[in-house]
Amino acid sequence: MATEAPNPALVFQPKPSLPPPPFTVGPVAWVRANLFSGPVNTLLTLASIWGLYLTLAAFLEWAWFDAVFEANSRRECLDKSPTGACWAGVRANWGRLIYGPYPLAERWRIDFAFLALIAWMAPLWIRAVTGKIAIAATIVCAYPFFAAYMFLGGTREETMTVLFPAAVLAGIGVLAHSACCILAGRPLPDVLLRPFGEGLTDKGRSRALAAIAAVAYAVVLAAAWNFELAEVKTDRWGGLFLTLVISGIGITSALPSGILLALGRRSTMPLIRILCVCYIELIRSVPLITILFMAKTMFPLFMPQHIVVDELVRAIVAVCLFAAAYMAEIVRGGLQALPKGQYEAAAAVGLNYWQTTLFIVMPQALKAMIPNIVSNFIGLFKDTTLVAIIGLKDLMLQVDSAGKDRDWLGLFREPYFVATAIYFFFCYCMSKYSQSLERKLSAGNRR
């Protein structure tokens, strides 16, 4: 049955809607609602605009309009513009801020090692690359030996002779593996074993891989045999480089040691629990600077006479001991937040303590604590400035020494400003990254 066309006169025809009243949509409405919604708000807005204008104007005048970008000494800067910033001084002292007193001819080693770290870590963020846990393990276990030799140089002792080529090989392996994954779409072992055909058993595969690795190691060892870098003692390390070394080691060591301490604190074994509680509470109740002073003055007393511990190593040990206690409390917070049902379910499935911890508890506890862990890392990064007080030439102290240079006597403001900007850049990036990570990981909880 065909439907009849409805009578237009009987069908309800709405009139076109009127435009919204003025000032309720668009930018004008937004401004009214967010900036001028009442007398108090209007006053606050005007006061902030005025304050912002004054600060920005003064800052821009100092940092841009009156600033001197080309000069050879502070005197020249002051002659050109007494009120402006002397960025020429920062430019002249840039190397000092970044590398400290590291020899000029050897600075490429630091650049190279940091670029290598970036290249080594980049595969972790590339989706196509497989085996990310193994890559992360090589970064933690192999990269430090590579970097240590790059930074220190000198003749290699027995352990370094063996480990440095191994670290180099691990790095090359990671890069080759990532290249294979991205270009060929299959992991490195598959590509390496291709010439042997498909007929290999599992045992044969691992044997073949071990043989290839041994040959490669021998090649690297031979190639690196005569490779030697000039020695740079740790008292010539400094600047941002030293800050990154100390905080990098502190951050890397804090998580595993903090996890162990937190597990110890929640353990059912009374003696272990008491030891962990004492350690955590003792370290957390004293300021970092006292621990650094202790490392400086008491460490030589603690060690036998024939062992002389480098000053940098002492500071790093102090920072690691300090960071572990704080991380332990954060991990404990995560462990406590975990519902008891998770433990019971793991026990019901028949997992033992370490399986429960490794596969059930830790992933959830750490995930819940990511914001706190990262803010702890930020705190640690900021706290490494304290090593300047015990005389290590980190970024903070380099800023100070820039103003004591003969040509740039009294130049403090500009280097301080730049150092602040550098610290801010690192900390801000870390906090933004943690926020994005948190969003990504909590995607499962969103509805």
Binding site: N34, S48, S285, T297, P300, L301, P304, K382, T385
Partner: protein, 398 residues
């Protein structure tokens, strides 16, 4: 032969039973860990003993009564000269506590203010407060201390051109000068009446609360309490003939004399600590207020409470429960952070005790131990406070 293999099996079974017994395993694990720790301590202690014997260092606390061969640049109270080491320790503690307590007070006020601004529905104000927090908490405290010390307080004009906004309050590159109160003979009467009035106000408040709980009748006890305290103290002060005068700093020669003085390092440390801590407190305030669910506000409106009362009686008490525990631990952080004073030469405990005294006397172990003792006492008392508070505010769920 069967009997022998049976015996072997039984032995193996017993060993396995031991190995898989969780009690046995936990005892072994603890013994191993305690053994390692004890060995470590023994190793360090024996090395220390050997090293000290070789360097001819002696131990013991007898040195604290000896004369410390250095002057302390600034202290809150007068110490005898030449000062003994125990005086130095006391001055260090008092100086640390002075700068910490003042910074805590300033940081709390500033932090709550910035936290409120951060929550403001004025977009610009909230953004500015957000940037204040972001910039301050992402730069190291040491850098900020140097900024205030070098950039601001030591860059002030010399005494002859000093800033003097109000007569008697002077700011120049030698520090901050203010009038010092000089107590008259009968001032103690005012003090006693102040204490008595405080007790009376507390009793009144308790009585008013008890009455409201039983009868529902309200009594403006807080207002009345303030009235009692101010009135009684003022009355006693006036009745005893205002026994208080002010010692005002005056410019004599090249510097101001008289009154109270705080050095530039104190000012720099105070401002840096307050400002740095305020951004953390502001975040706590924001998080605490946002943690109160919106349902609470709606429920309170549904009961007919006005917005003002909703804030006071519903939101703030619940937000405080989330704010106060981190707030108290941030107070502990202020105390610990005040040890950065050593970088700008403010004579706090770490500077005068752990640095100067240690270098002078060489008694590393005793000095490190006493320094740690002070900080641990602070930390333990603050965590005790926290536990008491947490027990009081814990939700009593049925």
């Amino acid at each position: 032969m069967p009997p022998i293999s049976l015996a072997v099996d039984a032995r193996r079974g017993r060993v396995a039973e031991w190995l898989y017994d969780s009690r046995f395993r936990s005892i072994v694990a603890q013994a191993v860990v305690v053994g390692i720790v004890a060995w470590g301590f023994w190793y360090l202690a024996s090395n220390t003993q050997e090293n000290m014997a070789r360097r001819g260092l002696s131990t013991g606390f007898d040195f604290v009564f000896g004369t410390a061969g250095f002057d302390i640049s600034w202290s809150l109270f007068q110490i005898s000269t030449p000062a003994s080491y125990i005086d130095v320790y006391k001055v260090g503690i008092v100086n640390t506590l002075a700068v910490s307590i003042l910074s805590i007070a300033f940081a709390t006020v500033l932090g709550f203010a910035v936290g409120m601004l951060r929550l403001s529905n004025n977009w610009l104000v909230s953004r500015l407060a957000g940037w204040y927090i972001e910039v301050l908490r992402n730069t190291p405290l040491l850098l900020q201390i140097f900024f205030w010390f070098i950039g601001v307080f030591t860059g002030l004009p010399p005494p002859r051109q000093s800033y003097q906004p109000v007569e008697g309050f002077v700011l120049n590159n030698r520090g901050f000068f203010m009038p010092a109160p000089v107590a008259g003979e009968t001032l103690w009467i005012t003090g006693v009446s102040f204490l008595a009035a405080c007790v009376a106000a507390i009793v009144l408040h308790r009585w008013a609360r008890a009455r409201q709980a039983t009868t529902g009748k309200r009594f403006p006890s807080i207002l009345a309490g303030f009235g009692i305290v101010i009135g009684a103290t003022g009355l006693a002060f006036v009745a005893t003939g205002m026994p208080l005068s002010w010692d005002v700093p005056k410019l004599r020669g090249f510097n101001f004399t008289g009154g109270m003085t705080v050095p530039p390092a104190f000012c720099a440390l105070l401002i840096a600590l307050s400002v740095y801590t305020s951004c953390f407190i502001a975040e706590m305030v924001r998080a605490g207020i946002q943690s109160v669910s919106h349902g609470q506000t709606e429920a309170s409106f549904a009961l007919g409470l006005k917005p003002n009362w909703t804030t006071r009686l519903v939101i703030v008490p619940q937000a405080m429960r989330a704010i106060i525990p981190p707030l108290i631990s941030s107070y502990l952080n202020v105390t610990k952070n005040s040890s950065l004073a050593v970088a700008i030469g403010y004579p706090d405990l770490v500077a005068v005790w752990m640095q100067t005294s240690l270098n002078q006397s060489g008694r590393a172990i005793e000095i490190v131990a006493t320094t740690m003792l002070f900080y641990m006492t602070c930390s333990l008392s603050i965590s005790m406070l926290l536990n008491v508070y947490n027990r009081r505010i814990q939700l009593r769920e049925r």
